[in-house]
């Protein structure tokens, strides 16, 4: 199969996923409501830490609350949690239908997930950035860095979706991916910088974080927004490497896994 048809298929899946999301409007309002509360809780709590000091881990109070707003805003665009249906399909045997399709499974799957992310940019990220700005929890980045930020979000969403896919692919061997899902959620909560900016970590934990993919999801784009100390292109390059590496891993696991499939019934 040539690259063009892979891209066309992925694009079609993205459009369908986007349309499907648009149906659940009430669900999005309530999700937005909940996100706002989490944004306020984290921002006020972290701001309270700056009562007696100017900087923590190299970040000042404004950068820290901006960090909270941006990471909360893009949480659904760059998801750490979510059932993507592959595990269920493996258990029910439904996966054979996907296997029979003459399309590349991984790229179509990722295409669909990108559609979901695109929806959340409009439905979740932009409104939350507005809420954060109104509450005084947002400092805008220099305009010139916005394109870099956008590219970084795309790469981050890619990595996040591949991680979710990898979790579910484990069900080829484990039967249930539920344990792996929780384990990964635990590590990604900390090492994606969602709970606390990675800048606040002690040195040894930052070193561990460098070798994990989670830092490349929420943390890197958010850090670019508040002003990354390092070269921006280097950050993007590292993200791209992780994205490619994990995607290849997913391809390998998928093709190894399809040999494990045991379909019940006729």
């Amino acid at each position: 199969m040539d690259g063009l048809s892979v891209a066309t298929n992925a694009w079609a899946h993205a459009r369908i996923a986007l349309q499907r999301q648009l149906v659940y409007r009430f669900s999005n309002w309530s999700g937005l409501f909940t996100n706002c509360f989490f944004l306020y809780f984290r921002a006020y709590a972290l701001r309270a830490c700056f009562e007696h000091r100017i900087a923590i881990g190299g970040l000042d109070a404004d950068q820290t609350v901006t960090y909270v707003t941006v990471s909360q805003a893009f949480l659904m665009v760059i998801p750490a949690w979510g059932k993507v249906g592959v595990g269920d399909a493996v258990r029910s045997g439904q996966i054979v239908i996907d296997l029979a399709r003459p399309v590349d499974f991984v790229s179509c799957h990722l295409g669909g997930r990108f559609g979901v992310s695109a929806y959340y940019v409009v439905a979740r990220a932009l409104p939350l950035l507005a809420v954060g700005a109104l509450a005084g929890f947002l400092v805008l980045p220099p305009l010139g860095e916005l394109p870099v930020f956008v590219i970084s979000v795309v790469l981050a969403a890619w990595i996040a979706h591949v991680i979710l896919l990898l979790i579910e692919l484990s069900s080829f061997w484990l039967g249930s991916e539920q344990g792996v899902r929780w384990l990964v959620l635990g590590f990604s909560g900390l090492f994606s910088g969602l709970i606390l900016p990675i800048d606040f970590f002690p040195q040894w934990a930052r070193t561990i974080s460098r070798f994990l993919p989670f830092e490349q999801t929420l943390y890197t784009p958010t850090r670019i927004w508040i002003g990354a100390g390092e070269s921006l292109w280097l950050l993007l390059g590292v993200q791209l490497l992780w994205a490619v590496f994990l995607t290849l891993l997913a391809q390998v696991l998928f093709h190894a896994g399809r040999r494990e499939v045991l379909v019940h019934g006729g």
Binding site: F26, S27, F38, A48, C49, S176, L183, G189, F200, A205
Partner: protein, 271 residues
């Protein structure tokens, strides 16, 4: 009425036992998920320790005092969540009309849904919370007597009551919306997130919601102030301790009333 109550307790007990037996038959997946959930909450605690390497206190509360708050929030949320997992597929029950089967049982619908499925693995959060409370109490070297322990127990019961009430209300909401929504997560998981720190650090409007409307903050903060001997800038302290069970009970009552309203709305699936 008293007879009914005895029968209900027995049936609920039997359902609970069946649910536990069922989970133990898939021991591998049970242990795996328990460990996974322990990791999630364990690393939250790690993040708290990371934060306190930079600061001595937050809104006047020291590290171990915040660890106590965090632990209590985890215990109460975890137990509230574990008790109410039967509600998890409420949307499915309503959409498919299976809720009809619930209604024909000789048991209040609420009790039946409650006992249908109690997921012990969710207790991981509570276990980890209990660990956090233990180490914090040890480090704080509090001079506690029996009355303090009684207050601690009351505090846990009130907390679990409020969270369980929230989960019931969240399920009841499905009678109107059919789909499950994240709205109540703002108060359940959000409430636990908020009360990880003293509520006094939040702005007035936000604080008031969580003290007086959805009293997750009230049942966390007020007993903690008394138990840890903190000074309370909000002036809730002496009277609030006595009011805590009342607040939790009233809130649970309101949630149950909401459930009743929802039940009245339920029309069933055809036929």
């Amino acid at each position: 009425m008293a007879g009914d109550l005895r029968v209900w307790t027995r049936v609920y007990g039997a359902m609970l036992a069946a649910s536990v037996r069922e989970q133990m038959s898939y021991r591998g997946s049970f242990v795996f998920e328990l460990v996974g959930r322990l990791t999630v909450t364990g690393l939250e605690l790690v993040a708290l320790f990371f934060l306190f390497q930079h600061i001595e206190s937050i809104a006047g509360w020291t590290k171990w005092e915040v660890v106590y708050l965090y632990g209590m929030a985890s215990i109460c949320l975890g137990m509230g969540e574990a008790l109410t997992t039967g509600f998890d597929d409420m949307p499915e029950l309503i959409r498919s009309g299976s809720f009809d089967y619930v209604l024909v049982r000789p048991l209040p619908a609420l009790l039946f849904v409650l006992g249908r499925d109690v997921k012990l693995r969710i207790l991981g959060r509570s276990l980890q919370g209990a660990f956090a409370v233990c180490i914090s109490v040890m480090h704080l070297q509090l001079d506690w007597d029996v009355s303090h322990l009684a207050l601690l127990a009351t505090s846990v019961i009130c907390g679990v009551t409020v969270y369980a009430g929230l989960f019931v209300a969240s399920a009841a909401q499905c009678f109107w919306t059919v789909e499950s929504t994240e709205m109540f997560n703002a108060f359940t998981y959000g409430g636990a997130q908020m009360t990880e720190y003293p509520v006094s650090l939040y702005p007035g409007w936000l604080r008031s919601i969580f003290l007086y409307v959805v009293p997750v903050g009230f049942v966390s903060y007020v007993p903690a102030v008394a138990l840890l001997g903190k000074t309370d800038p909000l002036g809730l302290s002496p009277w609030g301790v006595w009011a805590t069970p009342l607040v939790a009970g009233t809130f649970l009552g309101a949630c149950l009333f909401f459930w009743r309203l929802g039940m009245r709305r339920y029309e069933g699936a055809g036929g």
